[in-house]
């Protein structure tokens, strides 16, 4: 099987998985979930990496790959950190609240 036919199956199964993963989301988590999923969509950094590695000594392409990589990493690192910052606010309260009761 060539890559592309295989890849179409992967696309299909991945999409079905994505549809099933999130069933009921409590409203509290809408914002963090959106931000976390957004960080994951920065996975396109793998494509940027591949582009740089395969660019050889083509400077414009190297530059493009590098800019693309920094855009993606901005998305990934910023996204995960900001999600963690939000979620930290929830979890910090949880043990305290339990202690009170």
């Amino acid at each position: 099987m060539s890559f592309s036919t295989e890849a179409l199956w992967i696309l299909l199964l991945g999409s079905l998985l994505g549809l099933e993963l999130i069933g009921k989301v409590p409203p509290t988590l809408h914002t963090p979930l959106m931000s976390g999923a957004n960080a994951i969509s920065g996975i396109t950094m793998l494509a940027a990496l591949t582009l740089i590695i395969k660019a050889g000594d083509n400077i414009p392409l190297l530059l493009m790959g590098s800019v693309s990589l920094s855009f993606a990493l901005f998305n990934v690192i910023g996204g995960f950190l900001v999600t963690d910052r939000m979620l930290a606010m929830f979890s910090r309260k949880a043990p305290k609240a339990k202690g009170k009761r």
């Binding site: 991945g14 959106m34 690192i77 950190l81 309260k93």
Partner: protein, 478 residues
């Protein structure tokens, strides 16, 4: 299979597993934080996989390393700074900005591959077709994600407002024109013309702007969520371009999950996705004009009166809304409620599913201000409690407390889930003026005999309220 290939496959499989668990875990309060870290680890593993695989097959040249490290440092550093510096109130625009950058990244990869035809030369005819189509999708979706997200961010920041001609039906004409232009460019590109690439990039960018610009501020979260789903699609398309299965799976998962999340958000706001995207702001159509009547029977009161009533109350419910988030008054609010609590008043917060600037945003803001998690009551939980509540303090919320949504079948709001604050003994509405809410619809609540308006900016009113309460001796123990 060589050892490095096996290693790469193993790492990819683990990464996909962790990403799936991560997305799943993020939808549960208990596991969310760990899930987020899990997803981050998965991304790290994926990067290691690509690097190991490349070193094992052809090696990575020194110049490639330099460019990789350069890109990593710049993007990573800026991401870290941004994530640490942004205030919690600015979360919607931050997510939009990150998302736009993800789209830009996919766009650049596709352009790079299209311009220079990189590849290992092993592509057969059928996959050459797939490759070209995936370049088209990657450019199209990537560009729309980028420009749309940036417009969304600019609008949320208040840097940009909708020009009046964009609100007319004329915009549909322009957008359809741009879509046709994109299609022509796409066909050109598949036939191998570089002009097609330029044209496609330009027209998709403009299309992203054209679709996002007319959408009102309160609908923006839905749009961001949708664009987030798009950036997953763009990543999956980029996966086809560079032939990475991991990228395809992850992109598809985020794309599909983003779509579900968008739908969940729409349900919470009682809006259909179609009306968000094509209907424009609710307030601009004629049906709501009939409802936007003048207020006749308004009782306004001073902060002092409000303080006196609060002091005498036993059960108080706070309804925080958009206005509170915009005024960044969550910390002042916390001081007020803390004073009330020390005097034995029971304080709860009624959180409408779409309170704040984005669904779930209010929970984040109140958590930031140290409000105990168990005091945040979801709408269905708190609604039966309103008849037994002495005072409701509505802070910068409007449509989510409009009784019309339940009483008037002709109202555009009819059917939207609302908080039944009018059932409480006294309602104070803190609001800057008598302007209508986002929907542009008159709020019957404001004219009810048990409602008093306190005019002013939420932060200032709460500050004054705190002073008044302190003068009454509220908050001082014993």
């Amino acid at each position: 299979m060589t050892a490095t290939e096996i290693f790469k496959y193993a790492i990819d499989l683990i990464a996909v597993l962790l990403l799936g668990l991560g997305i799943k875990g993020l939808s549960k309060v208990r596991s969310a934080r760990e899930a987020n870290r899990l997803a981050a680890v998965a991304m790290g593993l994926a990067v290691i996989g690509v690097l190991v695989d490349s070193i094992g097959s052809n090696g990575i040249s020194t110049s490639a390393w330099i460019w990789i490290i350069l890109g990593t440092i710049i993007g990573g550093f800026l991401g870290m700074i941004t994530a640490q510096r942004v205030p919690m109130t600015a979360m919607p625009e931050t997510v939009a900005l990150f998302n736009g950058c993800g789209g830009m990244s996919s766009l650049l990869v596709a352009i790079g591959v299209a311009l220079f035809q990189v590849g290992d030369g092993q592509v057969d005819l059928s996959s050459a077709w797939v490759e070209k189509i995936s370049i088209v999708i990657s450019v199209f979706v990537g560009a729309i994600t980028f420009s749309g997200s940036i417009v969304a961010m600019a609008k949320l920041q208040g840097w940009l407002s909708t020009p009046s001609w964009m609100q007319s039906k004329f915009r549909h004409f322009i957008n359809i024109l741009l879509a046709i232009l994109s299609l022509i460019a796409a066909i050109n590109l598949i036939q191998g013309s570089n002009n097609g690439l330029t044209l496609l990039t330009a027209s998709s960018m403009l299309l992203g702007i054209g679709v996002t610009l007319p959408i009102g501020g309160a609908d923006m979260p839905v749009v961001i969520s949708l664009l987030n789903s798009y950036s997953g699609v763009a990543a999956a398309a980029a996966g086809f371009v560079v032939q990475s299965q991991l990228l395809i799976v992850a992109g598809a998962m985020v794309g599909a999950a983003g779509l579900i999340l968008t739908q969940v958000m729409c349900n919470g706001m009682n809006r259909s996705l179609i009306s968000v995207l094509f209907g424009g702001a609710l307030g601009s159509n004629s049906t709501s004009k009939n409802n936007a009547g003048e207020y006749t029977n308004i009782t306004s009161c001073s902060v002092e009166e409000c303080a006196l009533t609060l002091e005498a109350a036993e059960r108080v419910v706070i309804v925080p809304g958009y206005g509170l988030a915009v005024a960044q008054a969550q910390h002042t609010l916390r001081e007020v409620t803390r004073a009330l609590e020390t005097s034995g008043v029971e304080v709860n917060y009624a959180i409408h599913p779409v309170a704040g600037r984005m669904p779930g945003h209010m929970n984040v803001l109140l958590a930031e201000a140290d409000v105990p998690y168990e005091q945040l009551k979801e709408m269905d939980i708190i609604n039966p409690d309103f008849p037994a509540t002495d005072v409701v303090l509505v802070l910068g919320a409007n449509d989510v407390v409009n009784p019309q949504a339940k009483s008037d079948p002709n109202s555009p709001l009819y059917g939207m889930p609302v908080l039944d604050v009018q059932e409480a003994r006294t309602v104070f509405v803190v609001k800057r003026g008598m302007s209508a809410g986002y929907s542009g619809i008159k709020n019957d609540l404001f004219e009810l005999p048990n409602t008093s308006m306190v005019f002013g900016d939420a932060k200032k009113v709460l500050g004054d309220l705190l002073v008044e309460l302190k003068e009454l001796g509220v908050g001082s123990k014993g």
